[in-house]
């Protein structure tokens, strides 16, 4: 088995303001191995992006507080010096952000924005010309003609901007790439192109990938392991096969799958999960999914469920008994 690259232990993230306390992430455990792709799937507000930002220590330090441990190659990220952290950001771990429209600096040319990342992690002492050559190379890699490197973000379409964001993230050959809903802002054709490109690059550059999405289709296309997040917890975790083919599932996962149209079965109406995600300022007692769960039992209202383990497959639900953590 390849080495463990990233390990998250009992991560909790709380946003505290004068008005309210938001429990965004409530004790998650994760690990990503080298060259592995892990998907995190869940509704808006499940804590996916907060988790990703915590890995790079990019949470707003005044309001957000992260506890637990995040280890990258065995090193605690929270304990890193500023310098080590800067080396980590963009160098060893880089991130593709959700919204390409706002993620690029409007007053700096795209070539310069890519070159900046390269210059910051210039471990091989490349000259300016070499960096420029690399910028052109990486732009071509993501399918943008190199002669457009002096253009500004407003001259690109949304899909091209997302490619630029990806180019910035890939420019320094990171060991871990965090993709936070990289295709949400794109239409399906561009989405398919971008995903295919990411898959190809992942193979070529031997990068591990943390894919954050709310699209099961993307999970099926790209990931090896999947974590399903709900209200800041990973309620089900397993390989893609466990999730898509396995028999036992968390009721929330079942709900998610039922809400996807199935091309082979005719259906008048898609199933939906009634209700909304619980208010993160006031999470329900017991299992956080119980107010929306169709198989809710009395114990679900009282006690937080333990984890049921079967091989790699883990489900956090009272239905399967499971051992308390």
């Amino acid at each position: 088995m390849p080495n463990e690259l990233l390990k998250i232990e009992n991560l909790e993230i709380v946003y505290k303001t004068d008005m309210e306390t938001v429990h965004a992430v409530n004790g998650i455990d994760l690990s990503i191995h080298e060259q592995e792709t892990l998907g995190l799937v869940g509704e808006t507000g499940a804590g996916k992006t907060s988790t990703a930002l915590a890995i790079l220590r990019l949470l707003p330090d005044r309001t957000a507080k992260a506890t637990g441990r995040i280890l990258f190659q065995g090193e605690d990220i929270a304990a890193m010096s500023d310098e080590a952290l800067r080396e980590l950001r963009g160098g060893k771990i880089s991130m593709i952000f959700q919204d390409p429209m706002t993620s690029l600096n409007p007053v700096i040319s795209v070539g310069h924005q890519i070159a900046e990342a390269l210059a910051l992690h210039n471990t091989q002492n490349k000259t300016k010309e070499e960096i420029e050559a690399r910028v052109e190379e990486i732009l071509e890699l993501v399918g943008i003609p190199a002669n457009r490197k002096n253009d500004y973000p407003h001259q690109f379409s949304g899909g091209m901007k997302q490619r630029v964001v990806i180019a910035i993230a890939l420019s320094c050959n990171p060991q871990l790439l965090i993709a936070d809903e990289p295709t949400t802002a794109l239409d399906v054709t561009i989405q398919a192109q971008v995903l295919a490109m990411m898959n190809e690059l992942k193979e070529r550059l031997k990068t591990s990938l943390l894919m954050i999405t709310h699209d099961m289709g993307i999970i099926a296309q790209t990931c090896e392991k999947v974590g399903v997040m709900y209200a800041g917890e990973i309620i089900e975790y397993g390989s893609v096969e466990d999730l898509f083919e396995g028999k036992q599932h968390h009721p929330y996962t079942i709900g998610l799958f039922q809400s996807i149209p199935d091309i082979e079965h005719k259906k008048e109406r898609l199933e939906q999960i009634d209700g909304l995600m619980p208010d993160p300022t006031n999470l329900p007692k017991g299992c956080k999914f119980h107010p929306r769960c169709k198989q809710c039992m009395p114990i679900c209202r009282e006690e937080a469920p333990g984890v049921y383990v079967e091989g790699e497959h883990r489900i956090k639900c009272h239905l399967f008994g499971g051992t308390s953590r």
Binding site: L56, L58, G90, P106
Partner: protein, 325 residues
């Protein structure tokens, strides 16, 4: 893009024409008799009439206005001051450099104090530094200039006897007037810098820059500040243009022989040619500063530059269309 700026500069001409007509009209319809003002109340009516005839004020309004504008267009003749019987440029040449020097020093001081403090206040939002500078800025910004001037005079000139309070004969003489000009201007600049910086440092592209591993300094200055500069440049331009218009009150308080003081005297004496010449100078410098602000925009923001280029092109198309027609 040059076309756009040429167009902008040419647009100054109709603006100036409007200003000339407006000010000339106002000066003509306000009560008062130039001959009487100059000769005094004891002079015989016949002498007053003779003088008025010499100035041409006994002619109809439109004739005088047309004559004045014609003189400017054909001979660049702005007339003679009725008080001194010299070209209006004698007073302007003597006094405008004083105001210009003061305004230049004041704007530099404002930028050097206001912008860095604004950046600190934004970056360290809610810190004591932010609180103190914001409160002081608010106080200085809401105090009338003449009061601040008088208070500074009272404290540093009279009570402490540290600094001279009238005229501009030595460098020490500049301290109090400059403080009176700079303090409110810098506090305005501080507030605008703080608020635009706060907006910019919350943008996604700033997070992207951090995720690349950029140093905090570079994140603030290269990424956030460059985007925040537009409103700052605007405020600087307006402040500077107003100060070029002579800070009438400050010049009176500190007995500075600037352009503002002579304007007030000329208005009181109904010295129409002198008033007109100074007003035209003010509006011309104001328009010119605004064109420079526009040029600064295009250098700072590629999106603005693209707009200017498009605006320039549109002119070109219309013109070629005309030729074809």
């Amino acid at each position: 893009m040059y076309r756009y700026f040429i167009k902008r500069i040419l647009l100054i001409i109709p603006t100036m024409l409007g200003v000339i007509i407006l000010v000339f009209t106002i000066m003509s319809i306000t009560p008062g008799n130039p001959g009487r003002q100059i000769l005094g109340s004891s002079a015989p009516q016949s002498a007053v009439d003779e003088l008025n005839h010499e100035f041409g004020v006994d002619r109809p309004f439109f004739v005088r206005l047309g004559d004045y504008i014609w003189g400017i267009i054909t001979r660049l003749d702005f007339g003679e001051s009725w008080r001194t019987r010299q070209s209006v440029f004698v007073e302007i040449n003597a006094r405008f450099p004083v105001t210009l020097r003061l305004a230049l020093m004041a704007i530099i001081g404002e930028v050097l104090i206001g912008v860095p403090l604004g950046i600190v206040a934004a970056v360290k939002q809610y810190s004591p530094a932010d609180f103190i500078s914001t409160v002081i800025a608010m106080m200085l910004g809401s105090v009338p200039g003449f009061w601040l001037g008088l208070m500074l005079m009272l404290v540093f000139g009279v009570q402490l006897s540290l600094l001279p309070t009238a005229g501009l004969s030595t460098p020490a003489h500049y301290v109090l007037p400059l403080m009176t000009l700079i303090l409110p201007g810098a506090s305005g600049l501080l507030k605008i810098t703080r608020s635009t910086m706060l907006e910019c440092i919350r943008q996604d592209y700033v997070r992207t820059a951090r995720a690349k591993g950029a140093k905090e300094k570079s994140v603030i200055f290269n990424h956030a500040l460059r985007n925040a500069l537009l409103p700052i440049v605007t405020v600087c331009g307006i402040n500077f243009a107003y100060m070029l218009g002579g800070s009438v009150v400050i010049e009176n308080v500190f007995s500075i022989p600037g352009i503002g003081a002579i304007l007030v005297d000329s208005i009181n004496m109904k010295d129409i040619p002198q008033v007109m010449a100074i007003t035209i100078l003010f509006s011309f410098t104001f328009c010119l500063v605004m064109v420079f602000v526009d040029i600064a925009y295009s250098m700072l923001d590629p999106r603005v530059k693209a707009q200017y280029q498009a605006a320039g092109k549109r002119v070109k198309k219309v013109k070629s269309g005309e030729v074809a027609a």
